[in-house]
């Protein structure tokens, strides 16, 4: 194996360890989808603009299309597959998206959910304006964004333990 062309990559995704041999030029998004079969992470523009592939790398939101899989070696990743509880109970963000009609086709949803998960951990009581800035790096062609902002605020209230 030429280490400049191919590497063994070990990552922890949603608490589970995965190891695979990947070409060094493979993006993290393609590694997640094609090698690990975690197809919840969507791939849209593949140059960092649309936000669909956003995942958490050691807790921070990043574009999986702008990272090489080899760069994630040793890292802890979170993807949309890890949001719901083991028994299928949806995460408060997912529940709020459903209740507020914050998705239609669902293509942008995984990325938005991951960005908002990290954002609400950092800022548990955001204003609508702060939510707008947080999700500016995501394109949604269905909702017009207003329902996404409403869902984020509702989930924030629920995560704070308030009744929305």
């Amino acid at each position: 194996m030429n280490p400049q062309q191919q590497r063994v990559v070990s990552v922890i995704v949603n608490g589970r360890e995965y190891t695979g041999t990947v070409p060094t030029r493979k993006t993290l998004a393609d590694f997640l989808r094609q090698d690990l079969r975690l197809t919840g992470t969507h791939v849209g523009c593949e140059h960092g603009v649309c936000g669909a592939c956003t995942v958490l790398l050691d807790g921070q939101p990043v574009r999986a299309c702008l990272l090489l899989a080899v760069q994630a070696h040793g890292a802890r990743l979170e993807t949309v597959e890890g949001l719901a509880a083991a028994d299928g109970t949806l995460h408060p963000l997912q529940q709020a998206f459903q209740q507020c009609h914050a998705l239609q086709c669902g293509f942008c949803t995984p990325g938005l959910l991951m960005t908002l998960k990290a954002f609400l951990q950092e800022n548990p009581a955001p204003t609508a304006e702060e939510v707008r800035e947080a999700i500016a790096g995501h394109l949604c062609r269905c909702t017009g964004y207003l329902h996404i902002i409403a869902a984020a605020l509702q989930a924030a209230a629920q995560l704070r333990g308030e009744r929305a």
Partner: protein
Amino acid sequence: MKPPRFDYYDPHSLDEALALLARYGPEAKVLAGGQSLMPLLNMRLVAPAALVDLNRLPDLAYVRVTPAGLALGALARQRQVERAEAVVQGWPLLAAALRYVGYPQIRTRGTVGGSLAHADPAAELPAVMLALEARLVLSSQRGRRTLPAAAFFLAPLTTALAPDELLCEVQLPPLPPRTGHSFQEVSRVWGAFALVGAAALVTLDDAGRCQQARLALTGVGPVPQRASAVEAALAGEPLDAERLRQAAALVEQDLNPESDVHASAAYRRHLARVLAQRTLQAAWRRAQEAQKA
């Protein structure tokens, strides 16, 4: 696979990284945050023989206050810099401008040094470095040299970096007391590159006159520019809104923007004047507050 084939290296020391750059020269690309390089690779607009990834060099990810000011390592992330208390307190212009760079998810990975080395003519940070009179430390196996930011940007996507050199540190001198700042830009949507952006610093003297004004613009030419006619018209002068408006209008003497698909030259000139006025006003207000404090 999206990117073309390349040899990937993740050196574990700066010496190792510099040796790789010496070996590959113009055939190598340095991968820092990757937020500009990875799109170019994914679109196959670049096809380097080797990629030298700095991300296994955490020693370069520093934001440090030194006797000479602030030092940012090559791997200092934009988000990290934006939030560093030393930056917010001592170099608030940089923190303010970083908010306009891409999106939070981009700034998580993107580095300050990477943005400068990429030298996009519409990027925010190159203009900010001109305003802050940054000094850039370039390293290679041949040694180290330090360049003022004004000598670093040569043409769109082209800098003074030799093929075997790495931009390893950005140094910002401290700002004088009674200095106010402002960064503003106009872009088509939040997070997009600026059509035009302006960075202003206004320093007042004891009597409240303008001791020094600095104004740097992005998006108005092949490289970021200081607006020297505007700065000269304000130095030593008592300030009021009208004088700032008149000085800002001189920005058109300093610039010669070109038309492109995003905006006409006339619109860019208009934006430059408006943003010059707004940023100078805002910086002046902050300088007055600093004077009272």
